[in-house]
Subunit: 362 residues, 2 copies
Amino acid sequence: MNTLANDTFLRALRREPTEYTPIWLMRQAGRYLPEYNATRRRAGNFLALCKTPELACEVTLQPLERYPLDAAILFSDILTIPDAMGLGLYFAEGEGPKFERPVRDEAAVKQLAVPDPSGELRYVTDAVRTIRGALAGRVPLIGFSGSPWTLACYMVEGGASDDFREIKTMLYRRPDLLTRILDVNADAVAAYLDAQIEAGAQALMIFDSWGGVLADGAYQRFSLEPMRRVIASLKRRVDEPLIVFTKGGGAWLEEMAGIGCDAIGVDWTVNLGRARARVGDRVALQGNLDPMALMAGPEQVRAEAIRVLDDFGAPADGAGHVFNLGHGISQFTPPDNVAVLAETVHAHGRRLRKGGASASSL
Amino acid sequence: MNTLANDTFLRALRREPTEYTPIWLMRQAGRYLPEYNATRRRAGNFLALCKTPELACEVTLQPLERYPLDAAILFSDILTIPDAMGLGLYFAEGEGPKFERPVRDEAAVKQLAVPDPSGELRYVTDAVRTIRGALAGRVPLIGFSGSPWTLACYMVEGGASDDFREIKTMLYRRPDLLTRILDVNADAVAAYLDAQIEAGAQALMIFDSWGGVLADGAYQRFSLEPMRRVIASLKRRVDEPLIVFTKGGGAWLEEMAGIGCDAIGVDWTVNLGRARARVGDRVALQGNLDPMALMAGPEQVRAEAIRVLDDFGAPADGAGHVFNLGHGISQFTPPDNVAVLAETVHAHGRRLRKGGASASSL
């Protein structure tokens, strides 16, 4: 069970030598794949797909059948925890996730409790177990959760937001209430990720999708610190590598590198070479192609992928970079471009390690 | 005509000594003010308000009647240039600006031409002249434009966008077409800002609202370089100070400081002290309170304003910081909080210059 045919991704996260640069893509099991849409139709809707382990397993493996990706990621939703807290998650057509009972006052905050991962959330660990079995050691399986702050954004706003007015009003007027929510969320995320490891996840990722909307100072207090607590709690029990990704968090890479994670995800506004200089050898880096670069023709996809690899530069000890997009793959991506991308990353990653001239610098 | 009762803002932009930190707010004439909403109702709609110089003048002056702000900014829309290019600007209820004829193919790009500021755009320079007369030297008047890239986003997308798929597909597939649009836009923006100075504007600001969605590398080529060309063209003819603001541009402050502008606007994710260390004495800085901090109570507004001022620190030569929000003021802002903010910025700015302990560090 513990033998992996391909552990390149795990070694890169641990900054150990690898023969090439591993690649996986955020939302790699998704709407750009016709086979995903077919399974989703069979499930009836998105939530049913998440909550049926056999179907979640099926879509998790679909991109691996098409592309030589170096990791699988659990197919699930970012909002499983607040759903299990009883807030009433639902998806309004074309509007994204919403909660029937947003958390906006003292009474609602007081009622929040950490959901038991073996109770309401059992379908998640069941999916992890099913996927691990089906993967049969081909590549590692990544478990994940939203960050305490990002979960709180949805819980307080009641859905997606342009200005985050509800949660920021709470942040500036009643930081005590927000802190209480974040405390519960941090405990919930730690227990949830711990259960995913227990069920077989071989790496973890925390998606801090909305940390980048916070002011400097507020980010450190309301997003980074709760993530630090999650990681401290986890690292007492498990040693699987953990990635933290704050979208729009380029200003805070040094601080992110200090909260105990093994790798940092960066979006496409960040130059990977500069990011590497800033975090030194404290963490590996994951990223950071603009997902929209995949809308171009194959030649341009190749050139953009090589540019990202060259920005990071030759991994001094053969490791430290996991190739990914800077955000989830778009539903409008031509599937053939993903094949071009994966092949280019592997081939150019090998060239870089041999000290060969990069195609982009010829 | 050239004597100003209060030129603090202009001196701060030029990094000359000032007695206190000047303040103005992006979108300070706006929907949070009941008197603005009354004038807008009289105008009929937003575009009519922009295109009627007397009414644009009226709303420009409204916030100055309420608050001791140190600058006025021309009331206008960011999309006047593409509107004058004939793309058919309209506002769909609750959906923001849209264009009837987006620019998406070679034929549409070929038809683009620089609009004459004394033709279709005459209402803008008329408004500038009217406002300058009405201001009668109280505070300086800021003229503005969208950046070439930001205008191109609306022109190609046909409206607001979540993923900028249309323009980024063009960027990655047909950079030659995008470059042609940006060339026309740069010439148009330079002519437009030049005409605003001619009509009486005493400072200029370029709003690069969407530069922050670009990948590192693409930002420099498709947003920064066209802005550099605009500034180079302007600075041959005028010497009024110019501010560049790329929302989400914290990664590129050093490069922004090198394109000939006098000041850089920064959003709230950037720590002002660190930003100051990065740009040195090459440019002044403008910003950067989170607009949502104005949703709090007066005590918290005061504390947050002081934190921003203290982050910048004591202006060594008494200048170099213009206080502002990191984005436009929200329509939901309680108007009384703006009074608290302006008063706090002036009072604490004086204290900082006297070397007094800051309230936040007591």
